[in-house]
């Protein structure tokens, strides 16, 4: 949807646009909705011209059917699977995290959500040879810890490369986060920065921290912003074959924050928790939402100086 502007199509000259505007037709949708005969009389524009404009605009703003076999081939060509550092977790996720999807990891306080993200950053750089953007919304990013994971897994010679392949953006409110996402999109479209050509993983840690302050109460604006943000994340994932990983909170007894509307956003949702009868560095991961796999599967991981790994 867009405003009716001059030069949107050849017939739409400045003059025509101003006549349409004075008749109350301001957006393309307005033009499609209105009765053209009435509009022709009101604006004294030729009926024929209006029909042509409408037809052109409809063609311009509609979407086209795609042959599923072609679609399948492009999907196969453009998508990839990012393996996590834990083998059993990869089995649970059918290989790892998928690109073009939004994956969510939700957990209670100090359940290891940030550790999962940091571990995955290292894994993407070293195993998939791709880059990472880490958007930090609550000060949880620790370069020190990232370096520790990278060094204990791959040694000092790769440390610099790994750290340079991860970029960090700080955004502490929802508008800054939107601006940051827009900047990433612009950079990927323009292809001026080689870093963004091989960007594969986008981490937002955490999404709750920026949405919570505006959610609830009498203002409906917060809810709208949340939906807007979810659209942006999903578009980024789909348009650029990115793997988007968002962190969410769990409050109370396993209830994931942000409510029902948000629960439709991630394609895949993992719950991370600390089983009470286990050692302090053991975590259990449960797949509670997936568009491809049976849900309910679980696996155990351990958090060590090497980040996350299988727990046996």
């Amino acid at each position: 949807m867009s405003a009716v502007r001059p030069n949107l199509c050849p017939q739409l000259s400045e003059d025509v646009v101003s006549k349409l505007r004075s008749a109350g037709v301001k957006t393309v949708v307005d033009l499609i909705k209105t009765d053209l005969e009435g509009l022709a009389l009101e604006t004294s524009l030729p009926y024929k011209d209006l029909v042509i404009i409408r037809r052109l605009l409809l063609a311009q703003f509609s979407t086209f059917p795609v042959n599923c076999s072609d679609f399948y081939l492009t999907t196969i060509a453009s998508s990839s699977i990012i393996p996590t550092p834990a083998e059993k977790l990869n089995e649970l996720l059918d290989g790892g995290l998928y690109t073009s999807e939004v994956t969510e990891i939700a957990g209670e306080i100090s359940s290891g959500k940030t550790q999962f993200c940091l571990s995955l950053c290292v894994s993407v750089v070293m195993k998939a040879r791709q880059n990472v953007v880490f958007i930090d919304t609550c000060g949880g990013f620790s370069a020190d810890r990232l370096a520790e994971i990278a060094e204990s897994l791959y040694g000092e010679e790769h440390l610099e490369h790994i750290l340079q392949s991860v970029k960090v953006i700080e955004a502490f409110d929802i508008f800054h986060l939107m601006t940051a996402l827009q900047t990433i999109k612009d950079k990927m479209v323009k292809k001026v920065d080689p870093f963004y050509d091989t960007l594969k993983l986008l981490v937002v840690d955490s999404i709750t921290a920026v949405i919570y302050p505006s959610l609830g109460g009498q203002q409906m604006d917060g809810h709208g912003l949340m939906v807007q943000l979810s659209l942006k994340l999903r578009h980024l994932a789909a348009d650029f074959s990115l793997c988007v990983l968002v962190v969410n909170n769990v409050i109370g007894d396993g209830k994931v924050s942000l409510g029902k509307t948000w629960s439709h956003v991630p394609h895949c949702r993992l719950l991370i928790s600390h089983p009470k009868d286990q050692e302090s560095n053991v975590r259990e991961l449960v797949l509670i939402k997936s568009s491809r796999l049976a849900t309910g599967g679980k696996t155990k991981i351990g958090i060590t100086e090497k980040g996350i790994e299988d727990w046996t």
Binding site: I109, T114, R145
Partner: protein
């Protein structure tokens, strides 16, 4: 080609957003090359507001980093590591606690101390308020502190005690190292603590909002302490969702403050009893679980028998662990259970020798 951004993702007032939408202005492209007067005529929004909107949208669409309030550009983790390493943490005078936290209370992060009454939260805050002022030749930050007291538990005589012990300690070190004495005095320590007393949550929120201006005027400030963040939020709140919103907004202002000015934020929190069916009731930090995600580092202080323990419960960079500590006349110190091995590391055995002298 510049990709399009929807106008509703900008910080524009909701009433203006709806006016823009109904007038057909939906993406940044729609507002390009438009004069405020034209926009005002089309939408019915006041002229000055239109100018504001155009400034906001157009400067952003040219280059995201040009605006003052735009987020900082992306930096690589390598630069972040160098930055993290260049910022010295604030020591607490308890070596065990410092080691657990990775050298002390870190800058650019929110550290939360939770604990039952009397376990030493306020003492910890006062200790940090003093320690942040240790001159740089002794490895300190030579900074100043903002102390926000909500409970009325700040006792200035106690701060004098801690300051005295710290000054004595520094002078002793100066003698040993051959530095000039008197770099730090009790008077200088006291004048380096900016004290706020907040009587209700509105005052607290207002203070937090005004802090950026205050810190700009006092660039030496390296730590903001709030003792306690919980007090005013634990009573007289009928609307719990409002409480959550206020708390999370405050948390985001704190982390913004911490990273913008590269200062440490130290909060204290009370404990509350949690009942869950089939289990014994237990003590958990107050303010609910959504608040728990707000702090970067959470340390729980508790008693076990006659000993005080600090338990690192949450940290993005350090493992969960526990250390005992004690509170002496001179402030927060290690408990020395075995004869302190006299390693040649000066700063390490200093706290214990200090403790012996004072107590």
């Amino acid at each position: 080609m510049q990709s399009q951004r929807e106008l509703c993702s900008f910080p524009i007032a909701p009433s203006h957003k709806s006016k823009l939408t109904s007038a057909g202005f939906l993406i940044t492209e729609d507002l390009k090359h438009l004069k405020p007067s034209e926009l005002s005529k089309e939408t019915g929004i006041g002229l000055e507001e239109c100018l504001e909107i155009l400034k906001l949208v157009c400067s952003e669409s040219v280059d995201g980093s040009k605006r003052n309030e735009a987020p900082k550009p992306a930096v690589s983790a390598l630069e972040r590591l160098k930055e993290e390493q260049s910022l010295p943490p604030i020591i607490t005078f308890s070596e065990g606690l410092d080691n657990m936290l990775g050298g002390g209370v870190p800058l650019c992060k929110i550290t939360e101390f939770c604990g039952a009454p009397g376990v030493g939260k306020t003492q910890m805050c006062m200790q940090i308020a003093v320690d942040v002022q240790i001159p740089s030749q002794f490895g300190g930050l030579q900074g100043e502190a903002v102390y926000i007291d909500t409970e009325g538990s700040f006792i200035v005589e106690r701060l004098v005690d801690i300051a005295k012990a710290t000054v004595d300690h520094c002078n002793e070190m100066a003698r040993l190292e051959g530095f000039k004495e008197g770099e730090i005095t009790v008077e200088s320590v006291l004048s380096g603590v900016h004290f706020y007393r907040c009587h209700d949550y509105v005052e607290l929120l207002a203070t937090v909002h005004l802090l950026p201006e205050f810190i700009k005027k006092h660039p030496k400030i390296k730590v903001v302490l709030v003792d306690s963040v919980a007090f005013h939020f634990r009573h007289d709140f009928d609307d719990l969702s409002l409480r959550t919103r206020l708390l999370t907004t405050m948390a985001q202002s704190f982390i913004k403050l911490a990273t913008e000015f590269k200062i440490a934020i130290v909060l204290t929190n009370q404990m509350t009893t949690k009942f869950s069916p089939g289990e014994d009731s237990r003590l958990v930090p107050a303010l609910g679980e959504s608040w728990g995600h707000a702090s970067t580092i959470r340390v729980i202080l508790y008693w076990e028998g006659q000993k005080r323990w600090a338990w690192l419960y949450k940290s993005p960079s350090k493992k969960e662990s526990r250390v005992p500590y004690q509170i002496t006349m001179g402030g927060v110190r290690d408990i020395v259970t075995f004869p302190a091995d006299n390693s040649n590391d000066q700063s390490d055995d200093e706290p214990s020798s200090k403790r012996q002298k004072v107590s």
